[in-house]
């Protein structure tokens, strides 16, 4: 291995970069998933009562909403309360009432929280079919946009990873080929005196695995260091961002990177043995 120092370094470094990209992609996907579920669980349904709805239609609406499956909380917000909230948001100085011409254009509304995020969409669809509601909103869009974003991140990072992974495998194969060339005489003699194929091959597998593992250890070092730093800083400055910090999950991510490094190293060796070593 000392013989091909620069090649070994290049293949381990490429392996590291490939695995860092993989790791970043994994962490982003994990965090977006967590963000999505946090958002989903916070999503409330706002159902605006139609202006035309008469007292009869409004009768017992609260109970009917509460009896829907999965509903955790129902709060009635009258148009007056809504206007107060709006005033608060615009500030005391603004003359909102005057601007609106003394009329309150806001409808009465019900704010409904669900106990499980996946119940939000079905419940919102159910409410839309009720004539008493003019409009039903449940924060649609945000969740879908986040999912679309994660999908893109996955596609781009897998493409990048595929490319880098191939490069890493190729570099490892080339490094191992150099070792083979350097050991040509020994290999020829090994064959002549009756070494089995596996006896001749296994040192090359060891070298490939070692290169892969070195790259993986580098990648895990860089990633875990910077991610832990990110978590630490995010707690202070980005408190609203729920970063994944579960040790079990992170250990699985980093363990997965180590295994991937080993597998890519072995693949490189296989390529080299298949192409160059007739044993």
């Amino acid at each position: 291995m000392q013989r091909n120092g620069w090649m070994s370094l290049a293949s381990a470094a490429t392996m590291a970069i490939c695995l860092i990209v993989l790791g970043i992609a994994l962490l982003i996907v994990l965090n977006t998933n967590q963000l999505v579920s946090t958002l989903e669980s916070n999503v409330e349904i706002v159902a605006y009562v139609s202006e035309e709805a008469d007292a009869a239609a409004r009768q017992g609406l609260d109970e009917r909403l509460r009896s829907l499956p999965g509903v955790a909380e129902v709060r009635f917000v009258s148009k007056e309360e809504a206007l107060e909230e709006l005033k608060l948001r615009f500030g005391e100085e603004s003359n909102l009432a005057e601007a609106l011409g003394g009329k309150n254009p806001l409808p009465d509304a019900y704010r409904i929280k669900m106990s499980r995020p996946e119940d939000v969409i079905p419940a919102a669809q159910e409410l839309m079919s009720w004539a008493v509601f003019e409009k039903v909103r449940y924060g649609q869009g945000i969740v879908e946009k986040l999912f679309a974003l994660t999908k893109w991140i996955k596609v781009v990072s897998f493409a990048l990873m595929g490319f880098l992974g191939l490069t890493a495998v190729f570099l490892i194969a080339t490094t191992i080929h150099l070792t083979m060339t350097a050991r040509q005489r020994e290999i020829a003699i090994m064959k002549l005196v009756g070494a089995t194929d596996w006896f001749i091959r296994w040192p090359f597998f060891l070298e490939g695995m070692f290169l892969g593992l070195i790259g993986a250890v580098l990648a895990v070092g860089v990633l875990s260091g910077s991610y832990l730093l990110l978590i630490k800083n995010a707690r202070v400055t980005l408190a609203f961002l729920p970063l994944v910090s579960d040790a079990g999950v992170l250990l699985r991510v980093f363990g997965g990177l180590l295994v991937t490094g080993l597998v890519l190293g072995v693949t490189g060796t296989l390529v080299s043995i298949y192409r160059f070593l007739d044993v």
Binding site: R185, E186, A188, I189, M190, K191, L192, V193, G194, A195, T196, D197, F199, I200
Partner: protein, 229 residues
Amino acid sequence: MIQMYNVSKVYPPGIRALIDVTLRIEKGEFVFLVGASGAGKTSFIKLLLREELPTRGQIFVAGKSLVRMKRSEIPYLRRNVGVIFQDFRLLPNYTVFENVAFALRVVETPSRDIPRRVEEVLALVGLEGKERLLPDQLSGGEQQRVGIARAVVNRPSILLADEPTGNLDADTSWEIMKVLSEINKRGTTIIMATHAKDIVDRMRRRVIAIENGRVVRDEKRGLYDSNEA
């Protein structure tokens, strides 16, 4: 021990190295393989090592067909068939001891047995006290002795020698022949391809002469040339 039936070897694009060779070599024989360069002697040796397959015909070593032999069985054949070369083929960075031990290691001999077995075989070829020298520090004859030691340390029943004295002067050649005779006396079959007329003529062993790929002569106590008999 060794049987060949109608063995032919043709290399692309149609060079016929061996043509219809049928012969039998018994256990413990000492056989000279003679003939001009390119007559087919090296092909003969490569076939017996199963480095190559015959184009036609069958070869048996110790009752096993080399033609039907599986790839995974080849290493075990080679542990039973040692080989030495004109150019010795030693590992230059390994000492005498390590060069011989290498052959034991690659067949996974227990390490505690290795020193004893290396010492034994170095004594057999007359290299006691040279264990720690590198091949460069040895004479040609001594290097060939290392080659022989490496070839026989796994106790093969057959030893193939491809022009083992080709790079050595006459006196040194005789030293090597003594070592080979000694190994032969212990029961190892030896097949030696050679151009060395004086050696063949003085040893009076079985001579198989090959010309243009065909066996043209096979004599029990033969000479290098047929016309002198």
